[in-house]
């Protein structure tokens, strides 16, 4: 076990080369991440990337093959730390012969909560997840979404310091998802660390401070969500009188340039031949009367004025220019496909 560094006191989760191998299959190859106290951390990856295995290692459901991890500064499995951890499993299957209140009292007992505290907290969490009216209903009468809510309630019952949520909104309708987002924001406001494993990237984008993308058991991108999303811009120009020289110059600015015609998005390669560029410029001008939409991927927003200038100096008619940051979904797809 690696000795914790001094500044790790502020870390809720820290892993060092965490690894899990099943026979010849590597589920998690080398997981090194750190999550600060009070952060909402998004853990993303395609199916089979190793997300759930990683969470299972944190939760003591699976033993790591190698590496180490600390939760609240203590090694995995520490009982004192477990008292401060809440977990909503991906497969939220519970003892459905219990009613909602009995279920929460049972889990409260497992957390070591006194009867008095349980009597106080059970109605509170039922209200938080919107199940107060179903307190005495048996879990086998619950819908998938309701089971996910009661699972969330058991994860929050003991007012944990870290909450691991494995696909917390997979069974919920849009209103339910918004509700869970609000709960996550409340947790963050109370300095609770949230480790969120989700396929719903739009959800992650709305609530997470930092994200890590895992593929084939390794982290391929990680960082502050804001930084990752601002790394790349998508610039859209509506230009009339597209010339081969303009196309060539624009292609040199960004990582990719595409021409959006009425039928398709045509990529323009920076190394395209003069003949090909001539052909593409004719295509642009033959179908667009108010300018053709050209989309450029940029890594540096400082280049936007230069691009506008290039459009004008190459006899282009600049009808419009707008830019936006790429979405998390685009970043995710790019990162994962780049690995393939």
């Amino acid at each position: 076990m690696l000795r914790p560094l001094k500044d790790e006191d502020a870390l809720a989760i820290a892993t060092y080369g965490l690894r899990k191998v099943y026979g010849k299959k590597i589920a998690v190859e080398d997981l090194t991440i750190s999550v600060g106290v009070g952060e909402v951390f998004g853990f993303l990856g395609p199916n089979g990337a190793g997300k759930t295995t990683a969470i299972k290692m944190f939760m003591g459901l699976v033993s790591p093959t190698g590496g180490s991890a600390l939760l609240l500064g203590q090694p995995l499995g520490d009982l004192k730390v477990k008292e401060h951890i809440g977990f909503l499993p991906e497969q939220f299957r519970f003892h459905d012969w219990l009613n909602a209140e009995e279920f929460l009292h049972f889990h409260g007992q497992l957390y070591g909560m006194s009867l008095e505290r349980r009597r106080q907290r059970v109605p509170q969490v039922l209200e938080v997840v919107g199940l107060s009216a179903q307190a005495h209903d048996k879990l086998h009468t619950f819908s998938k979404g309701m089971l996910q809510r009661i699972g969330l309630a058991q994860a929050l019952l003991h007012e944990p310091s870290i909450v691991f949520l494995d696909e917390p909104t997979s069974g919920l309708d849009p209103l339910g998802r918004r509700h869970v987002r609000d709960i996550i924001r409340d947790l963050k406001a109370n300095n609770v660390t949230v480790f969120l494993n989700s396929h719903l990237l739009s959800e992650v984008e709305l609530v997470c401070d930092r994200v890590a993308i895992i593929n084939k058991g390794r982290i391929i991108r990680a960082g502050l969500l804001e930084d990752l999303l601002s790394e790349k811009l998508e610039l859209q120009l509506r230009v009339g009188n597209v010339t081969p020289a303009l196309l060539q110059e624009l292609a040199g600015f960004g990582s990719s340039l595409t021409i959006e015609t009425a039928y398709d998005r045509v990529p323009v390669d920076g190394a395209a031949t003069a003949g090909r560029l001539e052909e593409l410029s004719q295509l642009c001008n033959s179908i667009a009367t108010d300018g053709t939409l050209l989309t450029l991927r940029l890594e540096n927003p400082d280049r936007v004025p230069l691009i506008a200038e290039a459009a004008v100096t190459n006899q282009g008619k600049l009808y419009g220019l707008s830019y936006r940051h790429v979405s998390l979904e685009e970043l995710f797809v790019e990162a994962v496909e780049g690995e393939e």
């Binding site: 299972k56 477990k82 977990f87 499993p89 299957r93 003892h95 012969w97 497992l110 699972g151």
Partner: protein
């Protein structure tokens, strides 16, 4: 201690299982039929000599408790057969294992919960049978408490074996495996008894080996021995087919205790290392 929470929960869970309802329904039917049978049997036996009455009463009692013992064995197997593997497959343990408790506490809690249910079942049913024989036949075996305790012990041994299998086998595979072990014990016990009657050493050895593989039948033989009448000279005909003239060594009790402890300990060890 969190094991207590699991134990109470398991007892509640076991008490609502369909297999228990089935066993209770069958037990009620069995005890009712046994009571009616005992009533008429003892009415006819009233004209017999006291010694004959005592022998007949002990045989009726042995038959009743043999069935009780058999049902409790099946109950021990079928209620606990999927206690770990079933919950792993369903995913219900995913929300329990991360709680602040050791994995061995889950195993211990489950064992205690099922054990409590089985002990209640064995004591209630056995004393109903003993009570009916006493009521209609005025017969009380020499050491009823010890017999019932050993019968309960037999159920606990089977429970421990079933729990052990449940930590690494699927529910169906475990059910088949433990049931086969139980059958081996029953058949092995019969082979040993026949071997004893025929004075055949090989058959007796087969019985001994089977009782080492699984000591459930040996425990029944011990329990049933304490149910036999205290007569100066007993023969195989007098005691009937449900018991044996020669009781197993008391060391078999010690062996069975170690067997049970080993099974529970191994369950804890295997489950501690198992990836869920």
């Amino acid at each position: 201690m969190k094991a207590q929470v699991i134990a109470r929960f398991t007892f509640r869970e076991a008490a609502r299982k369909k297999v228990l309802f089935g066993a209770i329904a069958l037990t009620v039917a069995f005890v009712s039929l046994f009571g009616v049978g005992a009533y008429f049997a003892f009415r006819d036996l009233a004209r017999q000599a006291p010694t004959m009455q005592e022998i007949a009463a002990s045989q009726i009692l042995l038959a009743g408790l043999y069935v009780t013992n058999f049902i409790s064995g099946l109950l021990a197997i079928f209620t606990s057969v999927g206690t770990i593997s079933g919950e792993v497959a369903e995913g219900t343990l995913d929300a329990i294992v991360p709680k602040p408790l050791r994995r061995w506490e889950i195993v211990a809690g489950k064992w205690v919960g099922y054990a409590a249910m089985l002990v209640v079942y064995v004591f209630v049913t056995s004393w109903l049978v003993i009570g009916l024989v006493y009521l209609f036949g005025d017969y009380l075996p020499p050491r009823p408490w010890e017999s019932v305790m050993v019968m309960a012990f037999q159920a606990l041994v089977l429970l421990s074996l079933s729990l052990l299998g449940s930590t690494f086998l699927s529910t169906v595979t475990n059910g088949i495996a433990v049931l086969m072990f139980y059958a081996i014990a029953l058949v092995g016990g019969m082979v040993e008894q026949i071997g004893s009657l025929l004075n055949n050493g090989t058959m007796e050895n087969i019985g001994i080996i089977s009782s080492l593989i699984i000591p459930s039948d040996t425990l029944w033989k011990m329990a049933s021995h304490w149910l036999q009448p205290k007569l100066p000279s007993l023969t195989a005909e007098m005691i009937g087919p449900f018991t044996s003239l020669n009781p197993p060594s008391v060391w078999m009790l010690v062996y069975a205790a170690f067997y049970m402890l080993f099974a529970v300990g191994a369950s804890m060890l295997i489950f501690r290392r198992r990836d869920l």
